[in-house]
Amino acid sequence: METLVYIALFSPFVGSLFAGLLFGNSPRKMFTGWVASALIFVTFVSSVTLAYHVATVGAIHVQMMDWISAGDLSIPFGFVIDQISVTMMVVVSLVSTIVHIYATGYMDHDKSYNRFFAYLSAFVFAMMILIMSDNFAGLFIGWEGVGVCSWLLVGFWYHKADRPFEENPSISPSWAANEAFIMNRVADLGMLVGIFLIYWNIGSLQYDVVFDAMPHLADGILVSIAIALFIGAMGKSAQFPLHTWLTDAMEGPTPVSALIHAATMVTAGVFLVIRANPLYSLEAVHGVSMFIASLGTFVAFYAATMALIARDIKRIVALSTLSQLGYMFAAAGLGAYWIALFHLAAHAFFKALLFLGAGNVMHAMDDELDIFKMGGLKNAMRGSYIYMGIASFALAGLPIMAGFYSKDAIIETAFNEGTYIIWGMLVITAGMTAFYSFRQVFFSFHGEKRYEALGFHPHDMYKYVLIAMAPLAALAISFGWFMGYYKDFIYGLNETVQYEMSHTTHHWAWLLGSIVIALALTGIFLAWKKYAGEGENAWKRDEKFEASFIYKLLENQYYVPKFYDQFIVQPYTIASAKFWEFDKKTVDGTVDDLGKACLNIGDTSRGMQNGNLSSYLNWMGVGAMIIVIIAVISSVIG
């Protein structure tokens, strides 16, 4: 089994090296994509095998070699395959495989095709390290690794020029990439601090050691660790206020958005909280957990509001991702870790599907993103239409669909915990989710064929690509059915990951479910009403609404990016320039002034050397005089 672990871990790496080192600089070679995909598939197969092994035999813990050891610190390259990591592995490798295959089609015209696969596989490798690592430092490797890959991939089309913020809120791919990287680094600092705290209080970074020792630590330290780690999670999972990068990251190619910014990397934060469940379920950090839940709820709601009016097809999906991440955090914060993890997996499937579908639309529309310019695509792109529909149903949480089980469980959990405000917000958000996801579907696939006026000739994606997407669709529909099995599976991990609804909640479950479903259906209906009409009923822009404050607020993402620009980026830039000025003028200037002062004194005192013997004699006389006077005075005084 150990070999399998390494195979799972390193085959994406091999794929990356294959694509990058051998062909990184050469013209497009289709087979690089296929080789990379195949290698990811190997990972998937290994992951599934490992999952079976975990379910039947138990967790696996391997140590490859030492990494850093200094002082008392000893960090190995160690990997642990348990219920949590194996879930993630399966999800990640599955989505990755599909996205890889998808990308062979999607990217086939890009001249940096090979490079793309190098990055994409590297990302999977980093993600695998993140998931599989058995210590916080290893996690951090993956954490940063996915960050870099995200940077590379978001900025994949680096050659695009910057556009003004008003024209394009994400300015340019390279800008968005940098933003994502930097914002993540802010959070990483929090994570590092968490790691330091753990090390200095426990003396190890190994999960098992750390979690065993945690209950014996002082409350204050535990709270600090919990906060610090969560700050790390906030960045990667784009929680408020570190969320702006995620929507901007949509500048990257769509497969990237599907893989990284929907299914895998952004869930790393949730993964971290779940991984650290023994910590977050401690009584001492209850406050932090509640905060996590509240923040998650807030983000879920907050992102959903923005999605309501967004025009950019990828932004809508991204905002919905944000919103769903909020759900996951809400669950994790409330202690329902396995539900959060389950939703994570379900979300990965349907959101990847949604993104890939959106990618198909873009592909068809020559990278046009504005849904106002689409409409009535359903005939031209039937396959994508179906996939998008399935995914949206799943996202909206309609029965049978995966989203129904997982999301509903989260909402139920909120009710179960007695946090009714959270529950209420989540319910409302569920309604909004249904509305905006179907708004998007109807906008693009139903209604007037607005694209025709603009001269697009859409056609659907390659067949094989659509077929490759089928597993995702299947899982988007069916994944929820396995919730019971999954529960059994994950309950084998430990006590704290277990979560059961109380009897009362169970009793009310059908009612709660119906409320959510009702709201979702209302949302879908509203969307249908407004956007799906053709001819007479066709959607028209509502200028008045678009001029309203609410619309402006939402359109500008609550002015958060603007706030960052005005109050962080610009002051930073100005301060930097000022500091530079200060450095040159004052710090360096002082040194130069000292030098100049020396020269000036030299130049001035050179005046005594005027060449005239008479004044030399006078100087000598004055000197003698002074010496004698000092002599007389000091002898008189003392």
Binding site: V622, A624, M625, V632
Partner: protein
């Protein structure tokens, strides 16, 4: 009493004479005043029982040195009044005055120690010249010889510096590196002068 009168007479006259020396605009006056002042100083030496020193003062200073100055004065044609630009006369007087004040302060202190033994005592009944000679040719023989050396140096220096050979510089560019023979040139000069005469 006699000593007091003599002291003050000499003191006042030397002071005035030396003041003239340093203040006068006329070289001749200054030099005359200097010579007279030195004569007066020899008076102190006689007063202080240093007869031989007084004589030497008269001979060397008033005789030799002043003669030298006299020749120099003739060479420089300095009989006219000399104009000197004084940038800060006040400072000079201040310094001089302060210096004098300091010396007054310093020398008001009891300088003569009671316990100090004379190393080369003045023997009663021995003439000053004799005593001086005795010390000079025993204890101070070496300095005396060195003084002779110093005078030799001064002599050589005077001869070289005032010599005609200094008129032709091998150092500066005017005579650069042509292998000119200084002696020849000198000879030529002398002959030309003769011819002119």
């Amino acid at each position: 009493m006699y000593e007091t009168i003599a002291f003050y007479t000499f003191a006042i006259s030397t002071t005035i004479l030396f003041l003239i020396t340093v203040m006068s605009k006329n070289v001749l006056y200054a030099m005359t005043a200097l010579a007279s002042g030195m004569v007066m100083i020899s008076g102190f030496f006689f007063l202080l029982g240093a007869d031989f020193l007084g004589v030497v003062q008269l001979i060397v200073y008033v005789g030799a040195v002043m003669a030298l100055y006299g020749f120099a004065m003739m060479f420089f044609d300095a009989t006219r009044d000399i104009k000197e630009k004084h940038q800060n006369p006040a400072l000079v007087f201040l310094l001089g005055g302060l210096m004098a004040l300091m010396f007054v302060v310093i020398f008001s202190a009891p300088i003569i120690g009671d316990n100090v033994q004379a190393l080369y005592p003045i023997v009663e009944g021995v003439g000053n010249a004799q005593a001086v000679g005795m010390v000079l040719f025993t204890k101070y023989l070496v300095p005396f010889e060195v003084a002779a050396l110093m005078l030799l140096v001064a002599m050589i220096a005077g001869i070289i510096l005032a010599g005609k050979k200094m008129d032709y510089s091998l150092t500066t560019s005017e005579a650069a590196d042509e292998e000119i023979n200084v002696e020849e040139k000198l000879q030529a000069d002398i002959e030309r002068e003769k011819g002119e005469a």
